[in-house]
Symmetry: C2
Subunit: 565 residues, 2 copies
Amino acid sequence: MAPKGQKFELKTPKGTKDWEGKDMVIRDKIFSTITEVFKRHGAVTIDTPVFELKEILAGKYGEDSKLIYDLADQGGEICSLRYDLTVPFARWLAMNRDHQTIKRYHIAKVYRRDQPAMTKGRMREFYQCDFDIAGVYDPMLPDAEIVRITTEVFEGLGWNGRYTIKLNHRKVLDGIFEVCGVPAEKIRTISSAVDKLDKLPWAEVRKEMTEEKGLAEEAADKIGEYVVQKGQKDLLSKLQANETLMANASMKAGLADMELLFTYLEAFDALENVSFDLSLARGLDYYTGVIYEVVTEGSAPLATASTAAVAPPKPSKKSSSGKGRVDFDEDRSSDPSVGVGSVAAGGRYDNLVGMFSGKNQIPCVGISFGVDRIFSIIKAQMAADKNAEQPRNNETEVFVMAFGGKGFTGLVKERLAICTTLWEAGIKAEFLYKVKPKLPNQFNAAEKNGCPLCVVIGEDEMAQGKVKIKEMGLRDGHPEKEGVLVNLTDLVAEVRKRILRKSNLEELIQEAAGLKVVGGIRGEPELVKAPKSESVEVPEKISEAEKPAEGSLLSQEAIGAVPAS
Amino acid sequence: MAPKGQKFELKTPKGTKDWEGKDMVIRDKIFSTITEVFKRHGAVTIDTPVFELKEILAGKYGEDSKLIYDLADQGGEICSLRYDLTVPFARWLAMNRDHQTIKRYHIAKVYRRDQPAMTKGRMREFYQCDFDIAGVYDPMLPDAEIVRITTEVFEGLGWNGRYTIKLNHRKVLDGIFEVCGVPAEKIRTISSAVDKLDKLPWAEVRKEMTEEKGLAEEAADKIGEYVVQKGQKDLLSKLQANETLMANASMKAGLADMELLFTYLEAFDALENVSFDLSLARGLDYYTGVIYEVVTEGSAPLATASTAAVAPPKPSKKSSSGKGRVDFDEDRSSDPSVGVGSVAAGGRYDNLVGMFSGKNQIPCVGISFGVDRIFSIIKAQMAADKNAEQPRNNETEVFVMAFGGKGFTGLVKERLAICTTLWEAGIKAEFLYKVKPKLPNQFNAAEKNGCPLCVVIGEDEMAQGKVKIKEMGLRDGHPEKEGVLVNLTDLVAEVRKRILRKSNLEELIQEAAGLKVVGGIRGEPELVKAPKSESVEVPEKISEAEKPAEGSLLSQEAIGAVPAS
């Protein structure tokens, strides 16, 4: 592939990729769905630089700090690429004292020198979509709204309840550890072990606790009895009825929070997909209250997804210390012990801002959506569903073409002028960059991207001030199958009418089929831009040929996800 | 600012900044305007990684290569942050042989270790918005569409003709140099000298040519006669009438291209702001045909903007070789010899893809819009125009609040439930995170961000299944000044009706005032999302209080720009 004299391979750096074509369209649709939800809840966005002073990131990520990318020392400051969007947000809050409260979202790339598994959305450069609420407020109100937002995002993506929002609380977890007899200095490390329960069976985790981390076997077994429990308010009541647990101050405070949370989630109509899961621990040190994690089908590794693991999963290469660089760059996409992992995660972090600002603490709670993992799940399901409609690459509405017989000039200036008229009216239009194009080539170019309309100009028609509008893909026998001649002066109105009719058709088809598209939540009408005065007739019968090319991008059928447990 | 034990200052790296608040809203509006134009012309987007293998960037930027940021060597590949979006695009084209033609846009950050001038939009991390057309096509058709796109972008931004699109052609320039007797090996370096004419007076440039670069004085003086010339088709005719020039093959080919270009620009109605400017040279080596540069008021440095430079401008620190690191990080925002520079630039580069792919050349033409510079101009003008309406920080449409007398519970669950109803209907709503909030605090929170509507709930009204809707800022005496009671079951419809009425009012006010807002080009109706069945009455008289809070973000008056020369 390399030309003469070029000694390197043409590629992107390991763990990164170019995004293009339909992948890009799907990813953009995910972004716009998520952004719409964030704005619906009054959030504003902040943009921080891709790199930060190295000291800002130091001491925030525990042993994962080794995954941080550093910039070379070229003189001046020493910087690192951001590892997440949370630490830069905390740095911003600490720097900007006039903002004591804010709801902010941030959609941006983060960087981790981790071992990649590209097709599972585990990359070294990947997007995070973060929503955080900062400020001193009454307990659990922002925490509950985060869960509500999470349901709106996944419903908006068309997952229709096929996801589980796992909830737990650091104080509940710490309470369990204290009651089970874990010494104070071992609580964080035992918590890290519990965090692995979604990847490893209990026997492995227990072994790590007792053999690696020196916990008494009795304590480990007690923990084992708690961390298998999950439920909703039933679990809450059960824990509240346990006098030993309630005598623990941390547990009592945690459960009071959880009770409030459930009350608010009920009012928010956001209980359905929630699972209060005592095994949920989250690795990061900075969480201080409620923690969230969203999983769906594909989150778990294949090797442990069904029943109990038959063979013990291979130890992750990441955990084998330092050495073995040889395999570090290897892509683990086909390793069955690697799943997509959680598709969103977060929690409350009341002390992080104080790490920068000292006394001025600003409590925060937030969640981060892993767009690349969400994308890889949607992509895999679309590949599996042969009937899934493919999105279009571009949004061109009209292809402007010319035709003529002998002595055909190509009508290039006329085509440019007609495109100009359409562009001025805000209509998306293209033409072939050829002075004398052949008609079939022009139709091929229009069809290649599923362009719905053509405007065809000929010398005779132009002389009469007329052009032909042709809808692509009409059924045989349709009255407009061969196109309709319209006055040049009516062109914009006639084109708009047809674009609008197509949009309304797509809407009707979706309603009829009960399909759900990315881009709205249930109950929200999908509205079509149209001049107010224009009335549109929609034919009763919708022929196969008129079905939309892009509408039902992500139907319910295209999304497979596990029902809430 | 640093807490105890923290030895570093809280800040972003030099030459970078956090974007927030109204700045972010304005920047997003610029992005959406530009993206809309790009999509209108059928473009698709591609996303490449922020860093590339170091070898990909090597040998592409001449002496500016020293400004490239490298990543540290942490084992594995050696990478650099991208310097522009053009080289990654060429790398992508070379890697993806199934794409021989594409119209692509890319809006992303690029990185240059240059001396910053923050308030002038000269930063080390900044956005570029690139549009490029790749493929073998008939001459000058894509090149002309790039100019058309450029006019749509600046008209869409509301600059209303107050910008100049400078055009020139590498072959015309080379022709001039050849005719004036510049030796072949000096053509590129003499071209670089000409490129400085927007910053330096001719005498300085001439000196560089003769004293630094050893050009004969006679040749320099001949060049001087050409490079002051600018015009449109008049200049083209004048050059074509010059037999000496037309005898030069390069000049002849270049002028043939320019003639086609003018023909197509006429058909595209895109001639008005164009200036065929023989002094336009562009620094980058890879251009092979037409070159573009867009300037406006604020582009030129203050020191040389008016009349002739009284004092010779200070030599740029950048040009003083290598040493003097001390000042390199210093911000030059207040240096009068630094202007914003061009707000967009580009050209044809037919050989760049071949640098990666060898034989498989793909000719390209494109333009890059400097969003941060565009932003800094808009921002400065808004600051100068005290009447300019300020954009809102967020888009919240309804603030849900409660009030009550003695024994007031705060109605928290009811507020959450009403917010939920609104969110489900796609309406942007917020509430105060307080169990028992005071009414004035709730109104303050709503007013702070200019929220247009409130829903106020009280215990008595709730018992009757009713809530109050209150439009903010109605004039005294308005029939709804104190709000209107509506049935809870009609809440969504009643809220929608008022949101729609507000939007239509804003539209009317803009039409009446002949204002131009960011987000559309002339002629395109601004349409309001509304359920199809809903009819809306717009009151004839528009009171001061009902004027839109955000509509006329960037009025003509707010944009100062030089008329096309």
